[in-house]
């Protein structure tokens, strides 16, 4: 056995003791300097162009924390979270149905995915919005009875439209995840006497999550931006409020930039969250966990520092 390797220090920090470390002139990457200069110059040019344009930038900070904007951010996040919950739960269900040996359930899942993936989400939103043309009342017997127009609030319309559409996409992501788990895992679980359901819940899904989480993070970010469509069905969220303010304050384009900035902030926060979920599901799969974003930033700083040397 060799001596224990200290895992807290990477190979780049400390040269191993013992034989003398090699000291050599590193390869110079002149191309990197040149491309960095060009990239920075382009960025400055773009910023300058936007800065001297006919845009009243002061309006952006003025309204950045306006109570309507904050409310819109809240509504956008609420809609994103709820739609994704519907999407993920529905997606897992559909994926399991699709992989089922039962031809009825797998056909239903296939048909659902075919329909909801094959039509634009905006059209689906409008259909939900106009469903009152088909149903006048909602009547669940003694439990609930109401006019359709009162029952179908803008929030419900938006949730159904986004969530059910998302479920179709999540189903394919989940199916890929379930298929990625080695069949030997199912066999081993069955051989121990575990039922189909327990095998799925305890053995297969936890392993499938490693494959499911990264594209799901993508879907969440996508969903956050897709929520901007629901202003079409009278649901007020970030973009709708920003547009309203833009119309009354006479700074319509400025408010679009403001909304864009908020969307960027929200997606950045979500990406950080994704790292931690991925780390959780990576346990046991590799000998060391992937770095957290902060560890990565730190590592990058260190490599930049050593670059100068």
């Amino acid at each position: 056995m060799t001596a224990d390797i200290d895992k807290t220090t990477g190979p780049q920090d400390t040269p191993p003791a013992g034989p003398e470390a090699i000291k050599a002139v590193p390869v110079r990457h002149y191309g990197r300097y040149v491309s960095a200069v060009i990239a920075i110059a382009l960025l400055v040019a773009i910023i300058y162009a936007f800065g001297q344009g006919k845009i009243n930038w002061n309006a952006v900070p003025d309204y950045f924390f306006d109570h309507r904007i904050i409310k819109g951010v809240g509504q956008t996040m609420l809609l994103t979270v709820l739609s994704m919950v519907i999407g993920i739960v529905g997606g897992i269900l559909l994926a399991v149905m699709r992989l089922s040996k039962n031809p009825v359930t797998s056909s239903i899942a296939w048909f659902y995915i075919w329909f909801f993936r094959g039509t634009p989400v905006l059209v689906q939103l409008f259909v939900w919005f106009n469903l009152g043309l088909v149903f006048e009342y909602i009547n669940l017997g003694p439990i609930y009875k109401n006019y359709w127009s009162d029952f179908m609030t803008p929030l419900l319309t938006a949730l159904l439209g986004l969530g059910l559409n998302e479920a179709a996409y999540m189903a394919e992501i989940c199916r890929a995840g379930l298929l990625s788990v080695d069949e030997g895992q199912t066999e081993a679980s069955h051989a121990l006497g575990m039922s189909h359901g327990k095998t799925l819940r305890r053995i297969v899904i936890p392993q499938a999550m490693r494959v499911i989480v990264p594209p799901t993070g993508n879907e969440v970010i996508n969903m956050l931006k897709t929520t901007s469509l629901v202003s079409a069905v009278q649901f007020y969220e970030l973009l709708r409020y920003a547009q309203d303010i833009g119309q009354t304050s006479g700074a319509p384009v400025e408010m679009l930039f403001l909304a864009a900035a908020w969307y960027l902030i929200l997606t950045s926060v979500l990406s950080v969250g994704q790292y931690y979920i991925e780390r959780y599901y990576a346990r046991g799969s590799s000998r060391s966990l992937p770095d957290t974003p902060f560890q990565k930033i730190r590592a990058n700083m260190l490599s930049l520092a050593s670059w100068r040397r």
Partner: protein, 256 residues
């Protein structure tokens, strides 16, 4: 061999995968407490037969009994009724299986792998299951590896955890599907030691193996299979040293 009760009994077992007939009528009997070795060239159907015993594969024709009960079916009069998945699962509790590729659950530590089925299937409490798992880890010589994930264990260690996992269900029959074939040669010995120890404790074991030394020393019976049929069977020492059938002779001359 404490008694002569048949633990596994096969009568004309056939199995096909599509047009390919893998088992062409297997008749054999494994007695309770016996170590029963299955040898033969790859593709001879030995692993398939083993997988039929706990119904991972469905038998196409013939009858297969474990501990006197029909595998996968219920007989009423002269009609057979397929068992429900949940009924099959109940029967599998009593049959431990060890795979060539270990198939440990990679997202669980060694200890979690062992306690999973007792808790989920038998309703054991966590404390009970942990205590038993620790004993089993001790028995397979891995007492200090309880909190280790499979990816951090060597192949031999993984296979020993897999044996402990199967034993945690207190099976009456253990199936070994080429348990040492995926291991580095130097790690094979540790796994065979555990299996030898298990055999001495009186466990009924069916072992598909290429380890002729193990079969000779530990085995009570041996069957040589080729082309989906039993070619020769008997006492391992007799069959291995003095094979009667030409096909057995040529196989053994290549592997010994």
């Amino acid at each position: 061999m404490s008694d002569n009760r048949a633990m596994v009994k096969a009568e004309g077992v056939h199995k096909s995968f599509g047009p390919v007939e893998v088992l062409k009528g297997i008749d054999l009997e494994v007695k309770s407490g016996e170590v029963f070795c299955l040898i033969g060239p790859s593709g001879s159907g030995k692993s398939t037969f083993l997988r039929c015993i706990n119904h991972l594969e469905k038998v196409n024709a013939g009858r297969l009994y474990v501990d006197g009960e029909l595998v996968g079916y219920r007989q009423k009069g002269d009609k057979l009724y397929e068992l429900k998945d949940s009924e099959v699962a109940v029967k599998r509790r009593d049959i431990g299986m060890v795979f060539q590729r270990f198939n440990l659950f990679p997202h669980m530590t060694a200890l979690e792998n062992i306690i999973e089925a007792p808790i989920q299937v038998k309703g054991a409490t966590r404390a009970q299951a942990r205590e038993r798992a620790q004993q089993l880890l001790d028995r397979v010589g891995l007492a200090d590896k309880a909190g280790t994930y499979p990816s951090q264990l060597s192949g031999g260690q993984q296979q020993r955890v897999a044996i402990a996992r199967a034993l945690a269900m207190d099976p009456k029959l253990m199936l070994f599907d080429e348990p040492t074939s995926a291991l580095d040669p130097e790690l094979v010995g540790d796994v065979l030691d555990v299996m030898r120890d298990l055999a001495e404790s009186g466990m009924t074991m069916i072992v598909v193996t290429h380890e002729m030394g193990f079969a000779r020393e530990v085995g009570d019976s041996l069957v040589f299979m080729d082309g989906g049929v039993v070619v020769e069977s008997g006492n391992p020492r007799d069959v291995l040293t003095n094979p009667q059938h030409e096909r057995t002779q040529s196989f053994l001359s290549k592997v010994l």
